[in-house]
Symmetry: D2
Amino acid sequence: MPEPLTSSAPETGQSLAQEYRRTRDLTESLVEPLSDADATIQSMEDASPAKWHLAHTTWFWETFLLRDFARDYTLFDDDWPFLFNSYYEAEGERIARFSRGLLSRPTLDEIREWRAHVDDAMEPILDDPAHAELVTLGIAHEQQHIELLLTDIKHALFQNPLGPAMWSGAPARAESRELGWHEHPGGVALIGHDGEGFAFDNEGPRHRVLLEPFALADRLVTNAEWQEFIDDGGYRNARLWLSDGWAWVKEQGAEAPLYWRSAESGADHFTHQGWQTRDPNAPVTHISYFEADAYASWAGKRLPTEFEWEAIARGQHGEGNAPAHDPAGGNQLDGAEPPQPAGSDGLFGDCWQFTRSGYLPYPRFQPAAGAVGEYNGKFMSGQFVLKGASCATVRGHSRASYRNFFYPHQQWQFTGLRLAKDL
Amino acid sequence: MPEPLTSSAPETGQSLAQEYRRTRDLTESLVEPLSDADATIQSMEDASPAKWHLAHTTWFWETFLLRDFARDYTLFDDDWPFLFNSYYEAEGERIARFSRGLLSRPTLDEIREWRAHVDDAMEPILDDPAHAELVTLGIAHEQQHIELLLTDIKHALFQNPLGPAMWSGAPARAESRELGWHEHPGGVALIGHDGEGFAFDNEGPRHRVLLEPFALADRLVTNAEWQEFIDDGGYRNARLWLSDGWAWVKEQGAEAPLYWRSAESGADHFTHQGWQTRDPNAPVTHISYFEADAYASWAGKRLPTEFEWEAIARGQHGEGNAPAHDPAGGNQLDGAEPPQPAGSDGLFGDCWQFTRSGYLPYPRFQPAAGAVGEYNGKFMSGQFVLKGASCATVRGHSRASYRNFFYPHQQWQFTGLRLAKDL
Amino acid sequence: MPEPLTSSAPETGQSLAQEYRRTRDLTESLVEPLSDADATIQSMEDASPAKWHLAHTTWFWETFLLRDFARDYTLFDDDWPFLFNSYYEAEGERIARFSRGLLSRPTLDEIREWRAHVDDAMEPILDDPAHAELVTLGIAHEQQHIELLLTDIKHALFQNPLGPAMWSGAPARAESRELGWHEHPGGVALIGHDGEGFAFDNEGPRHRVLLEPFALADRLVTNAEWQEFIDDGGYRNARLWLSDGWAWVKEQGAEAPLYWRSAESGADHFTHQGWQTRDPNAPVTHISYFEADAYASWAGKRLPTEFEWEAIARGQHGEGNAPAHDPAGGNQLDGAEPPQPAGSDGLFGDCWQFTRSGYLPYPRFQPAAGAVGEYNGKFMSGQFVLKGASCATVRGHSRASYRNFFYPHQQWQFTGLRLAKDL
Amino acid sequence: MPEPLTSSAPETGQSLAQEYRRTRDLTESLVEPLSDADATIQSMEDASPAKWHLAHTTWFWETFLLRDFARDYTLFDDDWPFLFNSYYEAEGERIARFSRGLLSRPTLDEIREWRAHVDDAMEPILDDPAHAELVTLGIAHEQQHIELLLTDIKHALFQNPLGPAMWSGAPARAESRELGWHEHPGGVALIGHDGEGFAFDNEGPRHRVLLEPFALADRLVTNAEWQEFIDDGGYRNARLWLSDGWAWVKEQGAEAPLYWRSAESGADHFTHQGWQTRDPNAPVTHISYFEADAYASWAGKRLPTEFEWEAIARGQHGEGNAPAHDPAGGNQLDGAEPPQPAGSDGLFGDCWQFTRSGYLPYPRFQPAAGAVGEYNGKFMSGQFVLKGASCATVRGHSRASYRNFFYPHQQWQFTGLRLAKDL
């Protein structure tokens, strides 16, 4: 999901001002372990420097709120909006995406000063109902960038042969658990956001979809199961793969999920805590759509559609937009801690779950007007929908109607796999 | 649609043997105007040499029928199967796709001899009911390659600054016609092939889809209308484009459909009859999905879904799989003639019509077993569905459930645009 | 040597008119075995289609002689000069080099008609002394393209898995021969053309060069010797290679000369006569400068400079510009026959010989004026000088002062290696 | 000059230990203005991060001296040698060159600690005559990296739209000065290092070269003169350019030296002091060989050979290897100051001067043995020799026999142009 712009409904019972502060503080606390240099580097075009995320989210507040609505607001720096706009064509030129990693200036500390400057200016208008919609959107936008910041810096640190850890310690281990199935009889399901509370424009309008009887797995595929797939020649059998997927395998020389390494001293993988032994019972993560689809073929199952997934989520959790929508407790981000999928019970957490649904407009979908509308609709080609949430998603950010989306070759998000089958 | 393998129901009232001969003869008559060199060149990776199409369709009969079922059949040449396999991983190694244009040997005449050899060997088994299914598939497969042959050679000749014509003469002119709308009240529609007669595996299973009320244009967008889009800055306004589409525009320097040229002496475009003046009333063609989507945005309309299109087609023509399914008469291929969109009335003809539906599996879809099953399912990522037929589609080849598919940047097929809107 | 333009001194005792006809006939007789399609394909950017060579050499006569000097001459076709100009910026736009292989029209027969048309028009002016200089240049130019035609078509046919042969039969075998040395005491040598007879501008002016004592091998390195280099890990030992050469080895996966194959039934290589067993006593050929340099390092020797080579050649053959300059008889092209290095005795023949001299201007060098001057001087960066002649060089075309030049990675010419050492 | 390894003769009258300390201190003082992030980024494959230069020069001392000769020396960090080796294949694997800019760890401060650790360990052996040769080489090596550090960081800061300055202030202005000529009568010149004092292996052996009469300009081409070349269409006239140069112009869209900008408020260019107005009388710099050669063609002059340049230098300054070899005072690096070409009098200073000599081995050249020998000889293909020194060359580092070398397209060094002509 390339930097979508949005507004998470703060389903936390807090005031908007509280939610603003919680989110802004979380962003900053997550970069505490990073040096100026760590926050500057960019490992690939899909990723952005941590510093850039800090600045871009700040640019959002300045551009869409302060510049228009804060009395006598002065830009912190006249040149920075150009540097930290992302893809809003309406808001002027941007620098080439892959040059972001060359911006050693402004420094991390200067960006922090900018953040403080903007936070101060935001205070008077945070509780003004006239701006509630934009503030909500800005919070959701910043929460999305929190997840990207975490996955981007992981990818950047991974490039370093020293394997630097962003946090110390080691992840907790998961329990082994039998796979069960959530069954669904089919019929007409209501899909999409109902208009209550915040949602992105791409989650609506709510509409009816006809489903055939199906079942959805009650947990994610694990590292141990993925190892069986590898051991059975999964990455060498063209028959299991989509045509584009097989081309990708050959071009990449892919033979395991991103971040896996067959160390001499046991299987390990790269995490925010450096190189760690893989937990066989933890959900497999950092897989592409191509890999997820090939695994499902190998397992004699398939990926769910986004509608099937949402129907189960609503069955389990009602409307699914309530704060406590996943009491079973998937791993989500609660603070400045290393994100790592650990259990695999909850629908909302641990890993984003691939669906076989293309990321396309719902019936009667209309993009929002103005510059803030330039973010979801225009990505509707070539990508797939993912549902749920991951261990790097700020708790409270997701809901049953949430539609995340990525290209089928991308692996650097906390993506995972929940199987489905026909009944 | 990269060389899909299929079997068109011969909806022509002819026996399978007659249909076999009609199709094989058509292939050969289409290359009559070509020299050995014309038939050898390859202009891009998406296209294949004409000679290759002649050979590959022949390889199909030899590999899937003669080798297995013809008593004492001898391969015409032991090395050629390797050269003319396309993408059936199960059938052995292939040469790199873009090296096809370097095969000056075997010659066009040698390929013709191979065709005659195979046709002779096919005669005794053409009417054997035991092979009817494979023969039907082989005919459909060859008909698909006829369309590709025509679009590929057009692209190859276009590269030549001399602008060589494959046929002489000039296309007929179309009448101007007001745009009207086919309205649909919404509700449950039956989608997909019903199992009667031939269809590709990707057209089924038949299933129910819920539609919202909508309307589908009763003709295609014309060259004159497209010129208005250009004149209004359509190719320079990022807001109209999908994000990937805008990147494509900038990378390609796109400012008009493929084959358009602003000649000093009037607007013209490249055709199988060389450079010709564009007919303002003829449907615009050779546009990408990106262009179609941008135009629809500019026009305040949208693309239809594949389900909407099919529902209208069935409403107009009943099941739509009957031979006379489009009495209004869209332009299709009836013989060795230059294909050119001329009118724009029929749903089935002139141009393939983009839908906003991703090319994805229908509920309970299963690929066919064996090597012949390696063709439709494995392309289900990143592409869009097109409906109808084009002026280069062999008449009788298409039907309401037919799903053609291409990547959103591809332009070299006879692709066009039929608008839709919500009601 | 990318299509240099020049004029070989016809050292054959023939009149210019006779030499013109001999050369033109030779060009045409060499393409006798080729079909229109063979003559159309282009295997890489460095190579051109055979048809293109036939046309380009004809364009030369039309552009530089007939258009200016033939009374009432009419262009054979107005569009063809654009198609068949090569790199003379002064003579107008050209099509992109790698699109040459898409020109199925004009046909091979049409090009032959053009050649006849031009030959007829040339007859009256062939013996006119006023044009002798340009005619001589045109003959040399066409002789250079004969060599390129032969090496380009070899590369094109090599791409075909069928391994088509252009001529039948098999090459003669060479005798094994001990390596001896031509010694030279050093001192001042006269280098470059003396102004008698034809030479390219880059061969002069004649000037003095100081040499240190050295020796030049009296034969070329053989296939058997190269095999030892391979067996000793030559392609896997970075220490033997230039830095750019080692990068080239890794990028190409190079492990043998171009055209070598380790067939199960014995070592073979691709030739104009198809796949043939390699002759261990024949000179190794189709090696890059990088390979030649690495071999010399491995052998504890070095490449000669162009000055050393020329000094030996003059010592052996006097001025070396006489027709019989190499009585020992290196293999050169005498007619429409398969070129293949066989012996290795003569300095002038079998393979072009790499020198360690960069292709740079001699003191007081000035490019010729006008469009015909746009060919040698402008290539003076990044290339190395080769001396002698190859089995594909028209006999009479070379001389001691001749400077051939290629980039250090190129392999598709008949390049070989003659070692040198310090004394 | 891709990170050549060498040893500058400390022509400063200082002891080796003093010269070691002066050089090490200079390196560190030059990065004083840089943040950790500034020192981490890498703008292109040809450049390295400042931090990398600090580390790599330290790796040199550790690898070639301390590890072998310092009693009980302990590596500062076991993993760092892998990170900071450059291209010594013999010393083990290296990380891909363009990944250097992703090494946010170790930090700049950690590298400084490493430097201090190594400097402490070096102290006892600095004055040991047994190591004098390697210490001299290490000093020269570090001085070369000082120049690269300065040119690499300039290129990196240039990528930033903010145009950050590394130093404040503005450069001094130069005087306008008529062009004069150093004439030379030709004859035998002694070229190459005489063996007294330190020199790189590629500077020898000394040998005789025959020169024709020529003249060398007594100053460099200026910005004002270069502007005339531009105004006269120099970048749009193919006839002035080498073939590879013209391809480079078109591919790059080149229309001025690197770092030039046509600001609305007057011509300016990027410097270590940020964007500054160009001084018309200062030497033009940051030009490629292609540009230098095209300018010389336009001016009706030519580039000198390396031998001509050296002959003049020896005529002006005797052996030219004495400390005061250029009393006229070209701009060289004397401390932690912004390098900027200002005057244009001295042969040794302001800008490296292109010669038309390929970077090739001198007669009887032999690379040094062992890993330290892997640096000069292996670059001898495709590059050109530059003579003199630049404003970023540590004073005392250069000499008349010094051979710098770059590829003809490279611009990011302080390269300039001194014309020559025949007499």
